[in-house]
């Protein structure tokens, strides 16, 4: 079952970051193990003498994955828009994972700047993947600005806390049943990713939980399994919680039954 992200049909529900791995070789192995079709990348200042970015780019091309450039670290609309323009030129894609950071400790999105930058970039032909919160009003404004995908955080970037606001994420899913929703950031464990998919989210984007694991390749596999498991759970329509027990073994015909059991 595929998911439509703007003009592209994607099969894998796992989007993976390319930062923080012990080595480029392990990064490539982890990407392969994740079966992700999309990897996030960024832009940084390049030195004419070192040219570190050129080696990285050759590794990413070898992975065969589609790239989703981010605007990580941008704190203003202007910075984010210019970074997106540079990313479009260098990566030759209209996709941009739009981040406008509003607070240093939590790396919480500046949702006001985010909406404004999303509008500017959409009008300029970009296909924006906005890194946002689970706020319903902000989500509506992002869609009005032209976003066809929403990427609410699970928890602060790199925190590994999982889904901080399950109620809010569930509400977002319910309010926007036809918009692709991707939980982005804060995932620490495969169970967190599975929980996001069990809520009906379309995909999960994460980086640190794999890259900083003791065995990133094995962790990538674990996340791939969890994400697939959560997706199938949602499709299978799980039971509702209840407060009291309900016997699974049929009661009718119970041996030794008598009125005292009633």
């Amino acid at each position: 079952m595929t998911i439509k992200l703007y003009d592209d049909e994607i099969t894998s529900r796992f989007l993976i970051g390319t930062a923080l791995y012990p080595s480029p070789a392990i990064m490539l192995e982890a990407i392969k193990a994740s079966r992700a079709e999309i990897v996030t990348v960024s832009l940084r200042r390049e030195s004419g003498s070192e040219q570190a970015g050129q080696n990285f780019w050759s590794f990413i091309k070898d992975s065969g994955a589609k790239v989703l450039p981010n605007t990580a670290g941008c704190k203003s609309v202007k910075e984010a828009v210019t970074t997106a323009h540079m990313a479009r030129e260098i990566f030759e894609t209209p996709w941009v994972k739009l981040e406008v950071i509003g607070e240093d400790d939590s790396l919480q999105p500046d949702v006001f700047g985010l909406v404004e930058a999303a509008r500017i970039l959409t009008e300029d032909g970009f296909q924006v993947f906005p890194y946002t919160t689970e706020d319903l009003v902000v989500a509506e404004k992002l869609i009005t600005a032209g976003c066809e995908i929403l990427m609410p955080w699970g928890a602060p970037i790199g925190s590994g806390r999982g889904l901080n606001n399950i109620y809010g994420l569930r509400s977002l899913r319910a309010h926007f049943p036809d918009i692709p929703l991707i939980v982005d950031a804060g995932i620490g464990l495969p169970s967190h990713a599975a929980a996001a998919m069990e809520l009906g989210y379309d995909a999960v984007l994460l980086n640190t939980a794999v890259a900083k694991a003791g065995d990133p390749v094995l962790m990538a596999k674990a996340f791939a399994l969890a994400i697939q498991s959560g997706q199938q759970c949602y499709q299978a329509d799980p039971i509702e919680k209840r407060d009291m027990a309900a016997p699974s073994t049929p009661v009718a015909g119970l041996p030794f039954w008598n009125q005292d059991h009633a």
Partner: protein, 65 residues
């Protein structure tokens, strides 16, 4: 003239953005450029004149989450 290249003060004789990239050893590297906060497209680097005090960013693909 003096410019700010990737946040560092630099004395340069380059007249255009293309000349600056050559002067600073970028060669054919895959980079994007911005001048004074706005994209300077690769296709315009020959024509893009550098003036004293310009703030120039030269960026390349990098790991990201």
């Amino acid at each position: 003239m003096n410019i700010l290249l990737n946040g560092q003060s630099l004395e340069t004789q380059a007249g255009s953005l293309s000349e600056l990239l050559t002067e600073q050893g970028y060669g054919s590297a895959k980079v994007a450029t911005a001048v004074n906060g706005t994209l300077a497209p690769a296709s315009m680097r020959n024509e893009h004149k550098i003036t004293d005090g310009d703030q120039i960013e030269i960026v390349a693909p990098m790991q990201g989450g």
